[in-house]
């Protein structure tokens, strides 16, 4: 699928909105965050390094972010562009973030 032009800076808002907690990961070139739900580390999300410039992110990278956030393409756009609230996102995650039996 094709995404609209999304840059690394667009995710700053997502980090704030979802209160993502940065992990101790230090070997990779991109920061990694935990999404905390009900006090538990629930999802682990690698986001682009904001020092990497304002260019559009690759489809492959965006696809990985979208999968780790458990969102569809349209929902990812909503999360970035603000229509989706933190509570709405929490409801989505509650419904899908379980290991397969």
């Amino acid at each position: 699928m094709k995404y609209p032009n999304i840059s690394a800076k667009d995710f700053r808002n997502v980090v704030r909105k979802l209160s993502l907690e940065e992990t101790t990961a230090e070997r990779g070139k991109h920061p990694v965050y935990w999404y905390i739900l009900d006090g538990k580390k629930t999802l682990r999300i690698t986001l682009p390094n904001t020092h990497g410039g304002s260019g559009a992110l690759s489809t492959g990278f965006l696809h990985q972010i979208r999968n780790s956030l458990r969102l569809s393409g349209g929902q990812l756009t909503d999360l970035i562009q603000c229509p989706m609230s933190a509570d709405e996102y929490a409801e989505i995650v509650r419904g899908v973030a379980k290991p397969k039996e």
Binding site: T24, K40, G60
Partner: protein, 150 residues
């Protein structure tokens, strides 16, 4: 449409025969017109399929046998997935079972980034506080402990 001399104006030709030939040519012209239109439709569909295929990554599985660090060992070869996005000149290497990936401009750099991401995840989950982990990270931790030794 009939091309050339209008056959109905040529006195050397039989009128009845002319009439049949006129219909024949007119039908053929209609067929050509329909085929030309259909070919244009097919060309447009082929172009749209070509673009769709171009945007699809080339995906294939490989195995890695080492994590790029003397301090960590893989218990078994690790099956990973490589995704090559030609339009962006980007390669993603990922281990779907624990949701880690590495990105690079070629498979080699993407795999190295993946190895770094695996080691970061291992250290964090194995050394961290278990009571803070949700169901999914706990499942990842179990898999990592069965796959990697330190």
């Amino acid at each position: 449409m009939i091309r050339g001399v209008n056959p109905t104006q040529d006195p050397r030709l039989d009128k009845t025969q002319l009439s049949d030939q006129t219909w024949l040519v007119a039908d053929t012209d209609d067929d050509v017109s329909r085929l030309t239109s259909r070919m244009a439709d097919v060309a447009a569909e082929v172009e749209s399929l070509r673009l769709a295929i171009e945007h699809q990554p080339c995906i294939y599985p490989i195995e890695i046998t080492d994590l790029g660090s003397d301090a960590y060992n893989l218990v078994r070869p690790l099956p990973i997935i490589i995704e090559e996005y030609r339009e962006d000149d980007v390669v993603i290497a990922r281990w779907p079972e624990v949701e880690v990936f590495g990105e690079g401009h070629n498979p080699s750099t993407a795999i190295q980034e993946l190895k770094n991401a695996i080691l970061d995840l291992y250290d964090e989950l194995v050394d961290g506080d278990l009571s803070l982990l949700g169901d999914l990270p706990l499942a990842w931790r179990r898999i990592l402990c069965k796959t990697i030794t330190r």
